[in-house]
Subunit: 206 residues, 4 copies
């Protein structure tokens, strides 16, 4: 069994889940026929939907990049690994619902908690995939113990950030969303893994 098709399914599910988010943005239904002011107000009123669209797109983006980086090292797959991936995709595929819920009820702690628990679970499964692959010899020799530890630690830091977001959301739901979105943005900085990969590619190119 090749890792290639798992990547294809994952790319598909992520592309679709990310694109489906737009379906939760609804055209305001207005009474008048030339509704400039009313339409502007309707759009401004829908700010939670735009914010959750952008936030979930970023969160799914960082998860996709994480999965993408892991598969750089995956050399073979087995059935349990496939199932962990399907569980991962099931959690990621659930995010559009959480996004719609939070976009509709932005001040609800219930909605913010469900959103946070879902993104936390998805990230946790990504961590489980990495640990499972490392412990069961599914990774290539490029995945040295240092790489395995560093990549795992990066996910753990993200999980810690999401737990903080969950705590904040119990006090103030929109603020919790801001923390959730801040987590992927913090990944923008270059990391040890990146340097390893860049070095490896630079080496390949020589």
């Amino acid at each position: 069994m090749e890792a290639r098709r798992v990547e294809a399914l994952a790319d598909g599910v992520f592309a679709i889940a990310m694109t489906l988010l737009v379906l939760e943005l609804h055209v305001p239904q207005l009474a008048t026929s030339t509704p400039e002011g009313e339409l502007m107000q309707g759009l401004l009123h829908a700010w939670p939907n735009f914010l959750t669209y952008a936030g979930t797109f970023l969160l799914l983006g960082v998860l996709w990049i994480g999965h993408h980086n892991q598969f750089h090292y995956v050399r073979r797959v087995n059935r349990r690994f496939l199932w962990l991936n399907i569980l991962f995709l099931m959690c990621a595929g659930f995010m559009p619902f959480c996004t719609a819920l939070l976009g509709t009820y932005i001040h609800s702690r219930v909605a913010a908690t469900l959103y946070g628990v879902s993104i936390f679970t998805t990230t946790l499964v990504l961590y489980a995939i990495w640990r499972y692959a490392a412990r069961n010899g599914l990774l290539s020799h490029e995945a040295t113990p240092e790489v395995v530890r560093a990549a795992g630690d990066r996910i753990l830091i993200g999980l810690a950030g999401l737990v903080v977001g969950l705590g904040v959301s119990l006090v103030n739901a929109p603020m919790g969303l801001v923390v959730y979105i801040a987590v992927p943005l913090s990944y923008l900085r270059q990391s040890e893994i990146d340097r390893h990969l860049t070095a490896g590619h630079a080496h390949d190119a020589q």
Copy 2:
């Protein structure tokens, strides 16, 4: 004609059908503006939708893995084989409707039966694809008679499980759904095919 593009279309249809399932989860429409208790109740009330989401995701996952494993052996395709694959995708693409129907009417035997017949038909077509490929010389030499029989038998066992689920659903619809979901979960255990594939890959890696 290459098998590669059939795989791409199949990956696409499965990724989309699996991801579209989330569209059947609707945000509860509530009267009050800060609806914590009401929202929690609305979500708990929607348990059939969450259960059918997870169940169909798993069922489509196991079908995708099965198709994926078959294509490990497919070396060439012909027109009839392509059409069997399109029929397979048509059946798989129909599952989101059955999922929405059963999620809405979880106690309906009509909904549970349509769901069961649909997943049974999809699995049956997967079996027909395998048999057709084996009988018409579309498989590689790796597909020894033992592999062909073992892979076919695994699908037949799944079909038997789905027939049991259909029988149960005529008595109790939600219980039938539980049986349907139990079928893919039973595939989690390693199988003869897996061992063959793992052995083959281990051999490749040497």
Copy 3:
């Protein structure tokens, strides 16, 4: 510019257009809570939606196979060729709307005509792609004049069948749909092109 990514986009659009068809199947909204008889009637009443789902899935399937077969011969692409492909995908991507319209108004000649014109136009663009590629040297040497003519003729025969369907739909809309669906089914028989391809692959395998 490589043909590979055009194929990827086409596979994506077809997979999505085919899978989106299921969204046009709506769960019947019923009054009673244990609605066995009512639900059964609601489903039987929706037969036009199920028929158009299956029919469009088949029609898009045959167009996808046709496009797939063409790309077996495409060796390079240019900008005009890309645009013809985007036009092709635009037409194919329009089919879910025509399907929903005809599924809702199965006896309407307007709906049947729009459906027929859309599928005719999509097929015509597929023919234009093939002719353009042949005349501008985008095909490989495998595409002998005989192959180019035979493949073109097959599309022309399909176009003729769709014109017959259009004529029938002006008299009786559902009967016109039956003719439209009969066209792709007629492609099930093996053709000269298939024999060429099979022979080529058999040769490759030796």
Copy 4:
């Protein structure tokens, strides 16, 4: 990290965003049961939806071709480059909403402006991706300074056209849409880049 999977995600998001556009075309809900005249009128009345469907499909098509052409030269990627791509996809994935809004309120300057700003931003991010890749050594040696400049200039010309469209839309919203659509159509003509690519491929084929 390979460029291949970024391409796969981009192909997926574009294929989905383009195909989702059809979901914004709604079947007219009519009172009578054999509604030939009424249905025809309903369809004619929906011309803004059909126009925005075709227009956005073309605009996303030209952006996809542009992205596709860029990746012909991309030899390696880094984290910032990945994030620019996700930002690009986030903007492209937002277009179905703008399309639905403008299709519903075709005479609204607010809707036309949001549409124009969104497509302008998406194109601007495509320009940023190209500049970033060129300045950070992510391109292959084929991307000579002439190619980098010519490809950048082509995007700048498109951006200038979109600014004109934005200005027009403030006076007359539907006319602004016509300008937006005219921009991708102007790309149909062969360009310097195409000639370079065609020459390169012709060379490869020798």
